[in-house]
């Protein structure tokens, strides 16, 4: 398969990637290059393989065929700690151990930088302090994670990934289960982190958030990439209709000028009840 022109210095690429889940092929022959320094957002309907793709890109799922290239080398060839010093991931399934404090959880992100007999260093201390500050949870450092609100907890988890100090950060639906204000708060945080030079790849459900925050969109359907590029050219009424099966119009966001997806009014009129 002839691959289209790719940024040669992409930190994370997939070449002919196939992924299986319980013997079922979820992704087949997929090519992808995350542009360096981008805020890449993966969108698509439920069960289209977004999370599977993200987990495969992070090296959590083995490639059944093809490869994932991290900094130009097969991700499967790195020792686990090497991968974790280059790429951080916030999975959907993370559990906070009962009674753990914020700073303790964030410090868990330092695992890849620690050794058996170097369990805490000046660098660890600095990384944790920075991560707490960047995510604005320094005041909560000594609090127990299970006492926090959903939005605070999500910022703490992002702090843990930041403490890992990787140039590349992957997040699987980081805004799910948060109210709208906390969703925006988390997205603004990701925007800031991206502005500081980190490459961010996130799976998001909300198309309008994706359109506003992403510099690069990857739209998926049935395990394939159907559109790729900046939001202005990828998020179109045709694409949304095709990928999500949703009649819609796309207008310009009055505040940012980015695409804004408005579902068509497909309500059926109420029957006029007799005697009413």
């Amino acid at each position: 398969m002839s691959s289209p022109t790719r940024p040669p210095n992409s930190p994370l690429q997939a070449a002919g990637l196939g992924v299986r889940y319980d013997r079922r092929s979820v992704i087949d022959d997929l090519d992808l290059a995350v542009p360096p320094g981008s805020f890449t957002v993966i969108i698509g309907p439920n069960a289209c393989g977004k999370s599977t793709l993200l987990r495969a890109l992070a090296g959590l799922l083995p490639a059944a065929s093809g490869t994932v290239l991290l900094d130009g080398r097969d991700i499967a060839s790195y020792p686990a700690k090497d991968t974790a010093r280059r790429l951080g991931l916030l999975p959907q399934s993370a559990v906070s151990p009962e009674g753990i404090t914020v700073a303790e959880l964030v410090a868990r992100g330092r695992y890849a930088h620690q050794r058996l007999l170097r369990q805490w260093s000046v660098a660890d201390e600095a990384a944790v302090t920075d991560a707490l500050r960047l995510t604005d949870v320094a005041d909560l450092a000594t609090r127990r994670v299970d006492e926090l609100s959903g939005g605070q907890r999500q910022r703490v988890w992002i702090a843990m990934v930041l403490a890992q100090q990787t140039p590349l950060i992957l997040l699987d639906e980081p805004t799910t289960y948060l109210d709208i204000a906390h969703q925006i708060e988390v997205l603004n945080l990701l925007h800031d982190l991206n502005g500081q030079g980190r490459t961010v790849v996130a799976v998001l459900h909300d198309l309008n958030h994706a359109a506003r925050y992403a510099s690069n969109i990857i739209a998926m359907q049935d395990g394939r990439i159907v559109a790729e590029g900046p939001p202005a050219t990828t998020i179109t009424a045709e694409l949304v209709a095709e990928v999500f099966g949703l009649a819609n119009v796309v207008i310009s966001d009055p505040l940012t000028g980015t695409p804004l997806v408005v579902p068509a009014d497909t309500r059926r009129p109420h029957p006029v009840a007799a005697g009413n």
């Binding site: 559990v95 404090t101 201390e125």
Partner: protein, 350 residues
Amino acid sequence: MSTAALDVGRRRIVVGIRGLTVVVGLRSALVGSVMLLVTVLLALLALALGDFPLTPAEVVGVVTGRVDGLPRIVVLEWRLPRAVAAVLFGAALAVAGAIFQTITRNPLASPDIIGLANGSFTGMLIALLVLGGSWPLLTAGSLIGGLAAAVLIYLLAYRGGLHGFRFIVVGIAISAMLASVNTWMLLRAELETALFASAWGAGTLNSVTAATAVPAGLCILLLLALVPLVTPAVRQLDLGDDAASATGVAVGRTRLAAVALAVCLVSVVTAVAGPIAFVALAAPQITRRLTGTPGIPFVTTGIVGGALLLGSDLIAQHVIPLTVPVGVVTVVLGGSYLVWLLIHESRRRA
């Protein structure tokens, strides 16, 4: 030694020289020290009590080499092997339980519940009834039985990875099946053999001598020395498999190494003393409640386990009028604890 500058909401000490550092939780260290003291006091009792009672002063005299003669034989040859075995076996079972509970993230995952003990007993019974076992043969049978049960559970529960809950459910099923196999074998055995096997099957330190305690103790010390090698990675599994993997843990390999260590620890104990129930289940959870740590601290758990089994053995030998196997005491203690745990957990989930 210094207290870390970053306040993590829990007192901890970073012990280190020349860039080599180890982090110790202050409360875990305190609990561990207190339990060590308790263990020493219990050990003094264990060395003093019996058909030939000694005063604590005599025991200390023997230990420090100032008293000779009969007391010396009683303490060093009769009672010391059993007391040391109780401490080491308790520690081994507790650490094995802590490993299982951590990697499955489930407080019910204990080697005695998921069938390792019954597997050891099956192996021992086969060695005894079919091969007419001597001690080395029984030990080997028990070791092989425990390991085989572990491999069987691992294979049946494995589906593209090992999932805690499936591991436990499969383990309970295997445990039940092996228990009926064991009963069947006991029913077919001759009375005397069956009695001997039954006593062993309850878990007892009655037959522990220096000859069995020394090799088993050395094995346990060696295995316990290997545990810190996997501890940081195992600890990271608390975050869930994906998060652990994303932070740099080779999850599959870590879990396999940890399970192998835990299975060996349990099998060594079972081979000598039979399946002593509930220490592996209860000690890690008791410790976690005492230390208030987010995970189970392995070292402190080992100390608590040692104190628990030594204390239970004292009760079995001296408090209950007739001498019962220590396994009976731990079952009663641990069983009450398990009931409490189940009620507590179900209330919390409700």
